[in-house]
Amino acid sequence: MTTIARPQPGLPRAYRFPEFDRRTLPNGMRLIIAPVHKLPVVSIIAVVEAGATSDPRGQEGLAQLTARALVEGTTTLNGVELTERLEGIGSSIEPSTDWDHVSASTTVLTARARTALQLLGEVLMSPAFPEREIERLKRERLAELMQQRAEPRGLADEMFSRFLYGTESRYAEPEGGNEQSVGALVRADVTAFHEQRYRPGTTLLVIAGDISIPDAEQMVEETFGMWTGSALAPALVQDRPARQTRGVHLVAKADAPQSELRVGHVGVPRLHPDYFSLVIMNAILGGLFSSRINLNLREVHAYTYGAFSAYDWRRGAGPFVVSTAVKSDVTEGAVREVVHEIERMRESKPTTEELSLATSYLDGVFPIRYETTAAIAGALASMAVYGLPNDYFDRYRERIRAVTADDVLAAARAHLHPGQLQITVVGDPWVVRAPLERLELAAMTVYDTDGTPLR
């Protein structure tokens, strides 16, 4: 068979993120419209500053409960009727809650966009919050918590946050609250929360798809024009770590064939000036398949199916965390390698190949991220909630390409703290405890799956 040489790329073809119109309505609601005339579909996202960090202390889970209860009926349509109207036009609205926001979104055929927007408006502005459904949603949340505790990945995520953040931080508890905080919630809490947080001034609407700016504007004015009221000031986020020293936390799960590992510490807020350097640094360390952590743990040592590192970007400082699941009897080796790779990242600059892989990937993949109206709408929502400038997407690729090896090293030295790592292992204590202690990384505490320290 003849050898055909590896082909060279052709000339790159130009791409520009879709143009959009960004404005604020007289009542304070923010609106972004991005016409995208590819297929006859429209994505609509409403983003409200009513996320988990708005939960009053002791009422963790109120934001999520309120968001889920939005679609249980409005003042004009009961829950069943509302669902029938939405799904009858091929739409559905499943509100989701994160730390800073609630998102209620739908994607529909163009011809249905007006109706979908009207229904979305009713859901946001005049939910009925029927008591029976509030109680039902509370019980569903409790069932969810039970499932999570029995499931090693969810358990590792929950425990890791608890060990990372001080008890004063909202980030220490799950987004949806725990059994005590959710169990105590009543309908009056939900209606008050909605009254205080769901207002024009705290709401952003993004419409991306097969629609013109004037048509979108008109639909929005029709639906939301009469909405009034002002909201409480957004909550301040407390994101301080629980401790400044390294810790090892073993959550005992008998007979586990694998250990779920979460190794990391408190990171930095989304709007930190080193954001782009950190994105590249993380890609090299553990963000790509060919990253240091994944190649080490998966391809060199065969410890795992996959290992990666990530920054959880939030308004406050979310975690920096390395995540992986490894065969129980190599837990100690995997932890040692992860810590080693984090330390190594601070020792010297990345190689030219490592840097170019990360930058050319993030530069080249850019258009591939935005093939769908939902992805475009989501990106615009992100831009707006973080207050990023209108040219953010137009400048994204050049800012990625501008990151140098020196920048990566400086970011690693400034923001990776091996001495503050919280190493969380959900695994079989009979197999992993003694080897982990031999690593002598830090004092170890053993917990049961409720997070109670064991003697």
Binding site: P9, G10, E260, T304, S360, G364, P367, I368
Partner: protein
């Protein structure tokens, strides 16, 4: 919504589908090999999936894991997946990198074996075993996607055994097996190549000819054993699995006409009426009204050989036992079967399916995969343009006829997960607490 499609076949048997779309400067390359776990011989369960891993370990002109790195360096995304009767490999790249993507796929289709080593096999075997631990062994309910096919297909049927394979069989995989599997199944006449996105057909044809044209046709693959099964179970199979779970969970499966047959569309609509989203029958009655279920879904496997399966997947609330859950779900199915369905329910299902099909046509990678699917299973990629119309044509009567014929208790397989004996759990917990220091 119609996409343009050109389709042709190389002399070596490779079927090619091309669909141009110049809205964004990217192109998706998608390859289906018509081989999956169904083709594994006894004692080698999990081999097709292990083999998929080996495809990323290099070929004559590509180093181990270099495929991944080259595509990512080019600014592309990529992956592969193994299923019961097909394995796919796909990448989406900036459109100026089409040649690289095709060259890489051709190099491993034509010249994989020079790069295969014992060490690579051993490493990937360990990676796959870790994948099994992660997705099956260390996951509550993780064994469902082994147990359900085992329950729904008789012993010896190609779909009966585990897709990811047992640890014992994985240990037995040899380098000779790799060579033989490759020679038998990874041939151009057993493959379909689809390209969707920003390219010119003439350019693509030339590249395909240049890279794939010289790969020899295969020598033919052994036929699969008969996939024929009775169109109904003939009974109600039951399996109960005590597991490390806190909530009971029921997978209730029905044999249905195979994907692609006219009966399948009515089955899909019935599944959507019963269990798709909040407006579905089961959600309304079991989650909202009676509050016996915490969550649920309905789905089909979309198998084209022999029969397909419609599955209702329902998780119980904490205070509901497995038996109670099964009773409740079965009653709602009986009500559906005996009481018929409204036009509104059928219209709703069609509207939801139509939106989802249209939305899924936005990404070039999804379009390319659909083209490969319809070319592989039906020899006709243009069916992708008929999907919506086929669902729109389903009438209330067809749905009711389907329910009458297929949703009775003579056509059920229940896989029921229940919490292990709670007393035993408490004892184990106490012992552990006592011995920990």
């Amino acid at each position: 919504m119609q996409i343009p499609i050109e389709t042709y076949r190389l002399p070596n048997g490779l079927r090619v589908s091309l669909s141009e779309d110049h809205t964004a400067p990217l192109v998706a390359v998608n390859l289906w090999y018509h081989v999956g776990s169904a083709n594994e011989r006894e004692g080698r369960t999990g081999f097709a999936h292990l083999f998929e891993h080996m495809l990323f370990q290099g070929s004559a002109h590509v180093e181990a894991n270099e495929h991944f790195e080259l595509i990512q360096r080019a600014g592309g995304t990529l992956n592969g997946s193994t299923w019961l009767d097909r394995t796919n490999y796909f990448e989406t790249v900036p459109s100026n990198q089409l040649a690289l993507a095709l060259w890489l796929e051709a190099d491993r289709m034509g010249q994989l074996l020079p790069a295969m080593t014992q060490q690579k096999l051993d490493t990937q075997r360990d990676v796959v075993k870790n994948e099994r631990r992660w997705s099956v062994d260390n996951q509550p309910y993780g064994t469902w996607w082994e147990r359900l096919p085992a329950l729904a297909f008789p012993t010896g049927h190609p779909f009966h055994h585990s897709l990811i394979g047992s640890m014992e069989d994985l240990n037995e995989a040899r380098l000779e097996d790799v060579a033989q599997f490759f020679a038998t199944y990874y041939t151009p006449d057993n493959a379909v190549l689809s390209i969707a996105g920003d390219f010119e057909c003439s350019e693509a044809r030339a590249l395909v000819q240049q890279f794939f044209g010289g790969i020899p046709k295969g020598r033919g693959k052994p036929p699969l054993p008969s996939m024929a099964v009775p169109d109904r179970f003939g009974t109600w199979h039951r399996e109960t699995v005590p597991d490390a779970v806190v909530l009971a969970r029921l997978f209730l499966a029905f044999r249905i006409p195979p994907f692609g047959s006219e009966g399948h569309e009515a089955a899909s609509i019935a599944g959507a009426v019963l269990g798709l989203k909040r407006g579905s029958r089961l959600h309304r009655t079991l989650v909202r009204e009676r509050q016996v279920a915490a969550e649920l879904s309905a789905f089909t496997f979309d198998l084209t050989k022999g029969c397909d399966l419609l599955v209702l997947d329902v998780t119980a609330r904490p205070e509901i036992s497995g038996d109670m859950l099964e009773e409740e779900v079965a009653r709602e199915v009986d009500v559906f079967r005996e009481g018929g369905v409204t036009q509104e329910e059928v219209d709703r299902a069609i509207a939801l399916i139509e939106t989802s099909l249209l939305v899924s046509m936005q990404a070039a990678g999804d379009r390319a995969d659909k083209l490969s699917l319809f070319a592989t299973y039906f020899g006709d990629p243009s069916i992708v343009n008929e999907q919506v119309d086929r669902y729109r044509a389903v009438t209330r009567h067809r749905v009711e006829a389907f329910a009458q014929a297929y949703l009775g208790d003579d056509n059920r397989a229940s896989l029921l997960y229940v919490p292990r004996d709670p007393a035993l759990e408490a004892e184990a917990h106490a012992e552990m607490a006592a011995t920990s220091r």
